[in-house]
Symmetry: C2
């Protein structure tokens, strides 16, 4: 199939597919005489993999690594794969912790503000941000 059809079948925009190719994530099986990219079922599977990996938070660079492991499954260990996944898990969890702290702090100072129409002369939010 050509890039337009691949786009329809995966939900990725044509430009994104070409961009992914430049990033080394995918590549067409070949080219037609006129230079059109040609893809097959494997391209479809690979893009599906990419979609899934994105949905659980992997970056394109990480996905690139995972795609290599996927293709060369036999030359790599479960341990390698799991290590990458666990690192990502740690990253996600630390981001969640950071955001939780932000939410709590912000919640605290926001709750204290009356939110009324009077001047913010002694608004607790502004004050809280002024003082530590």
């Amino acid at each position: 199939m050509r890039i337009g059809e691949l786009s329809k079948n995966t939900g990725f925009q044509v430009e994104t597919l070409r961009f992914y190719e430049k990033q080394g994530l995918i590549s067409p099986v070949g080219r037609t005489e006129s230079g059109y990219r040609e893809y097959d079922q494997e391209s479809l599977k690979q893009l599906h993999f990419i979609q899934q990996a994105k949905s659980v938070g992997f970056s394109l660079n990480e996905i690139s690594e995972l795609l290599t492991l996927r293709v060369e499954r036999d030359q790599h260990s479960c341990s390698e794969v799991k290590t990458i996944a666990e690192q990502k898990l740690v990253q996600i969890e630390s981001k969640i912790n950071e955001l939780n702290k932000m939410r709590d702090a912000l919640h605290k100072i926001t709750d204290a503000c009356c939110g009324g129409p009077e001047p913010a002369t002694s608004c607790t939010i502004l004050n809280a941000l002024d003082n530590v």
Copy 2:
């Protein structure tokens, strides 16, 4: 004080301070004859405010808005301030939800992987990313 001292007193890098000035977040009280920026205690307070606002998740644009409200307290209402804070709270919470979903999904497929030294031929992580 000059920019280097302000940097030491706030923890922001000199380049960052000049960048913030270009973004309209801060500005020196004046300039020396030779063109050096000069700052005072208010600059220090303002940068402290910026630090606090960053720490609870506000973007530079939002901080810019908040700084205006802070300076013109009397011309603005608590309601304006609280609205901004609550919007940010919603954003943070939705980001947390997204990350929680990622973490759960990733956790699930990661737990199932043995993580051993044998080839990843039928690694559950790779398989999970292959199939929906």
